[in-house]
């Protein structure tokens, strides 16, 4: 996108910043988008993993809810200290960090989406299991099911032609530090590399390709031999590519000296240097705040982590804006769960369920998604109820950012999950050839009782699917699938029990979303 288009988009987004929780879903359906971001193949996703379970209630703070102060007598953020960013939306003051650009300012500029109530059905309160659920994109209630690979690893291993027989010239995914995460693993092999220091990686990686060919895979030994061998090849091969990008790239702003912030700095430099990597994974630990999470002056581990989160993202964004790659990057936070609403006896909070997620970048439809948590209506464990399935933003990334189809989403997540609409949809030139068109769907009557009818004009021949989802984004049922010719389409909907639903009409994979209410 050209510079000028970018400016008008952000202006529009800034104006469009609004609370979406209480208003009809239609207001943020992808179809409503005025500006369309052009698809290109250099779009980048940054995943920020906040390990330990971030306390959503002390991140976006429900200061107007008296219950909050009852259940958190010693660690609540007083209203007077919270940072008001929009009508009833208050941030922990640490998110308005000391950095010149931070999450608060990004929200004001229309570059941040706040998603309240992110979670999933039957929450698992184990760090490890829930992290696996978040990274794999599978929510399996069967504890014996072993989760071995990640949603991004699966998606990219299928999108890259010839993987893993032929590796692309640049690493598909780069993880800063540590051992390679499940997120980037796939059944076909690892799609990512892990690195800490590009210079050292280059010095040590040279000439590491093994002298011998792969072994047959039919023994355990052969399988493990080939695993090590591929890592050796990747070390040799990508050490040069990464070094080239590192040397060509630069940072145009000063980054605070903190481990997480420095990871964001390295990501910015690699992008600036032209590395064609699609996914970056950075990591912050320490969110498991069972003990002394903050004192009466709002100092402590949790405020510190929020300060660094905001500083790292804000400084990165500032760098990206100056260097002109801000349009190509979006980021999201993931954390395995939130904390329990009630504080524990140690000025801390135990493991909980639903929490807050941030999605940032110029391509984000800024605003607040979902209601503030209901502090009087907990689940059976006494935890916050979720409003959005955690994979809704994944579906956004796949369909609206990376240009995948609903079929891709279904195949990667092994479930039909509806995009939340938090990312601006990209339209590629291929779409018109493929007949991927959105249609204008009318629903009457709505609210319905026994039956309603969807009606639209079908401009092209194609495969039409009509599906019903719950408002949290999980697939409920398919009510129509057929190959149709152009003309006026009428599809009846019946047999739904009372409640709110999302109805989707997809034409050759392009999806239109309409809300549907049933009152019986």
């Amino acid at each position: 996108m050209k510079r000028r288009t970018f400016l008008s988009t952000t202006a529009a987004a800034a104006v469009g910043t609004q609370v979406l929780g209480g208003i009809p879903l239609k207001a943020f359906s992808p179809g409503d988008l005025g500006e369309r971001v052009q698809a290109d193949d250099d779009r980048i996703l940054i995943v920020i993993q906040m390990f330990g379970g971030n306390d959503g209630l002390n991140t976006i703070v429900p200061v107007d809810d008296p219950e909050y102060y009852k259940i958190r007598p010693s660690i609540a953020v007083p209203k007077i200290k919270a940072v008001n960013v929009l009508s009833n939306v208050y941030m922990h003051p640490s998110l308005d960090s000391k950095a010149p650009y931070n999450l608060k300012r990004m929200f004001e500029d229309g570059r941040l989406a706040i998603i309240n109530g992110i979670g999933y059905e039957n929450p698992n309160l184990s760090h490890f299991r829930s992290t696996d659920i978040w990274l794999s994109g599978f929510n399996s209630s069967d504890p014996e099911k072993r989760l071995a690979d990640g949603w991004l690893g699966r998606y990219w291993s299928n999108k890259i032609n010839g993987f893993p027989e032929v590796l692309p010239p640049d690493p598909i995914a780069v993880q800063i530090g540590g051992s390679l995460s499940m997120l980037l693993r796939s059944p076909k092999g690892d799609t990512g590399i892990a690195l800490t220091d590009p210079q050292k990686f280059f010095e040590l990686g040279q000439g590491l390709s093994p002298d011998m060919d792969p072994m047959p895979e039919d023994t355990r030994f052969g399988h493990e031999f080939n695993f090590v061998r591929l890592v050796a090849e990747q070390s040799d091969r990508y050490s040069t590519v990464v070094k080239d990008a590192f040397d060509k790239g630069s940072n145009q702003v000063t980054y605070y000296a903190n481990n997480f912030v420095k990871q964001m700095k390295l990501v910015a430099r690699l992008i600036s240097g032209g590395l064609k990597t699609k996914v970056y994974l950075v990591y912050m630990g320490g969110f498991d705040t069972h003990v002394q999470q903050q004192d009466e002056n709002l100092n402590g581990l949790h405020p510190y982590l929020l300060e660094m989160l905001s500083t790292g993202i804000g400084t990165f964004m500032q760098d990206a804006l100056i260097q002109g790659f801000a349009d190509r990057v979006v980021g999201m936070t993931v954390s395995e769960f939130g904390r329990r609403p009630y504080e524990n006896g140690s000025r801390g909070t135990d493991h909980g369920a639903a929490s807050v997620q941030f999605v940032f970048g110029n391509g984000v439809r800024a605003g607040v998604y979902g209601e503030m948590p209901d502090l009087k209506n907990f689940d059976s464990n006494g935890d916050l109820r979720y409003q959005w399935d955690y994979r809704r933003v994944y579906a956004d990334v796949l369909e609206n950012w990376f240009g995948g189809s609903p079929e891709d989403t279904e195949s990667v997540l092994e479930d039909r999950v509806l995009p939340l609409g938090v990312l601006q949809r990209s339209t590629s030139v291929d779409d018109s050839y493929a007949g991927r068109v959105q249609v204008d769907v009318r629903v009457a009557p709505n609210p319905m009782t026994d039956q309603t009818t969807l009606e639209w004009y079908q401009p092209v021949p194609g495969i039409v699917k009509v599906d019903i989802y719950g408002t949290e984004g999980r697939f409920l049922q398919n009510i129509y699938t057929d190959r149709v010719m152009p003309g006026t389409m009428r599809v009846p909907v019946r047999g739904l029990s009372s409640g709110s639903y999302i109805c989707t009409v997809s034409v050759n994979g392009a999806r239109t979303i309409v809300p549907l209410t049933v009152v019986r």
Partner: protein
């Protein structure tokens, strides 16, 4: 190589089916005892998995023994006594008086300079303790330290976490406790850990008080330490937390320490005396006069652990047996034969959760010696660093640094689940560092040491037999004739076979050749396997 050739060389041998998890054929042999006298390959295999590899002369001395005999030797005495660390670790040299003192000041609330001095001292002590332990592994003729390492990884506590540190003295005491428990009764070990100072501090037990429960340890006791996930409700976690209220750490000289510093104690006023309902079993309420340390420890804490073993015996047995299998035999989580696992778990359960019989059964089984599991395990950084030093007969001054470079900080796993292990050990981050370590270690072999090493192989004068011997010694699975030729050529620097005899006459020449051979072998993927 030009770019195009490079791309096409990046080819994997065989495709794995999309969506299918890797699953190699199950090993046929079960847990029935292996009664065939051990070959050299068997001895090397046993030491690689149960110990930290072994030198050639020691390996040769065990050939022909029965597996049961050698495994008994390796498991060592039930209670091996407590090793005393270097005095410099235990105490601090006071700069003013030049005397050695215990350094137990509380940095919390101290001025910044004092705080940094104390934390710096801990960091330095942590490195000393790590190197001390790594050197014990180096010198250990048995598997005592290896099995202790297994339990330290199971009952994981971190050195550095949140904004604080584990005082290394506490880790040292935890190490001693697990070391003496390592072959004993598992419920007893669980009890000792539950009231151990390091754990009570690490998982917030010290903050767990009546009316202010902290669920951290109660949850991990079930999820990570005994039954595994899926065998309890959230209510059970909350009830376990109530049972465990009242235990306090003692870390600093300004804290109460009725049992002495670094020992936990029981604060009766902070214990929840109400009745608890855990896994369907009621733990009765108590009155103030029976709310004593002794009674609560036995009637509640030990009872809690016994209830877990009584109500969920199969879950515990399977969870621990599985963990041992993954750690010692094959780490791929999808390749554990359920029948074999049940058999191993059953051994553990029917012995009343005694650890030694289970380990002995595993390590003397035909399954363990089956060729199909050899070379399937990825060496952990500790195994790699300690093992290479033992195999090459050279010592690295700061081994903990190298272990850290390979992403394993001694006594400091990433979180309470311990190290994830398996493929997580090898990445583009860590693999180059493993290679670097091997290269440095090989370069540090003196001419004298290299020549001694050469002569530890029986037919070292026959160049083909010598190369074969070295590959068998350093690699877990026999290599192809083509690879043997390749390594011979590395040894002889491309010259004909008869030049080996000439090199052997000149120590510097044979040493240099030897290093070239080792470097060529260290470059192979299977050098990372055992």
């Amino acid at each position: 190589m030009n770019r195009r050739n490079l791309f096409s060389s990046l080819v994997r041998a065989s495709k794995r089916g999309g969506g299918e998890l890797h699953s190699a054929p199950m090993v046929q042999a079960g847990l029935e005892p292996n009664t065939t006298p051990l070959t050299l390959d068997d001895v090397l295999h046993l030491y690689r998995r149960l110990g930290f590899a072994v030198s050639m002369p020691v390996a040769l001395s065990h050939v022909g023994k029965q597996a049961g005999v050698l495994v008994d030797e390796l498991l060592g005495p039930d209670d091996p006594g407590s090793p005393t660390p270097d005095i410099k670790f235990a105490q601090w040299l006071d700069p003013a008086t030049q005397t050695l003192v215990d350094y137990t000041e509380n940095p919390e609330g101290a001025d910044l300079e004092t705080r940094f001095a104390i934390e710096g001292w801990w960091s330095s002590n942590h490195r000393l303790l790590s190197n001390w332990w790594l050197n014990r592994m180096m010198g250990d003729a048995t598997a005592i330290e290896r099995i202790t390492m297994f339990w330290m990884s199971h009952w994981a506590t971190e050195f550095s976490f949140d904004e604080t540190y584990m005082v290394p003295q506490m880790h040292y005491r935890q190490y001693r406790m697990l070391r003496s428990n390592r072959l004993g009764n598992f419920p007893r070990m669980a009890l000792d850990v539950t009231v151990d100072n390091a754990m009570v501090f690490y998982l917030g037990g010290t903050y767990n008080e009546v009316g202010r429960p902290n669920e951290n340890y109660g949850r991990e006791l079930l999820e990570l330490f005994t039954t595994g996930i899926g065998w309890y409700t959230e209510g059970d976690v909350q009830q376990a937390a109530r049972v465990l209220t009242g235990w306090k750490t003692s870390r600093f000289n300004d804290q109460p320490a009725p049992k002495g510093i670094y020992n936990t104690w029981f604060d009766a006023n902070k214990h929840d005396t109400g009745a608890k309902e855990f896994l369907g079993v009621t733990i009765a309420a108590r009155t103030p006069d029976n709310n004593t340390e002794f009674q609560v420890l036995n009637e509640e804490v030990f009872e809690l652990i016994n209830i877990i073993h009584r109500i969920r015996p199969d879950a515990v047995a399977r969870f621990i047996a599985r963990k041992a299998y993954l750690y010692f035999v094959y780490s791929s989580p999808n390749d554990v034969d359920p029948k074999l696992l049940n058999e191993l778990a059953n051994e553990f359960k029917t012995s009343g959760f005694e650890i030694k019989p289970m380990l002995k059964k595993l390590f003397t089984s035909q399954h363990f010696f089956d060729p199909a599991i050899r070379g399937a395990q990825i060496k952990t950084p500790v195994e790699f660093v300690v093992g290479l030093q033992r195999q090459f007969g050279v010592a690295e001054l700061d081994p903990q640094f190298w272990v850290l470079e390979m992403d394993q900080v001694m006594l400091d796993p990433p979180n309470v689940a311990g190290w994830p292990g398996y493929h997580a050990w090898i990445s583009t981050n860590t693999y180059p560092r493993r290679r670097e370590f091997a290269r440095k270690l090989i370069d540090s072999m003196t001419d004298v040491r290299a020549n001694v090493f050469i002569r530890e192989f029986s037919k070292y004068e026959d160049v083909a037999a010598f190369v074969l011997g070295v590959t068998k010694f350093l690699l877990p699975v026999a290599v192809s004739p083509a690879r043997l030729d390749f390594y011979k050529s590395a040894l002889l620097e491309g010259q004909p076979d008869y030049t080996w005899a000439e090199k052997l006459l000149v120590p510097s020449a044979s040493a240099r050749a030897m290093r070239e051979l080792l470097k060529a072998i260290a470059k192979a993927p299977d050098f990372q396997l055992c």
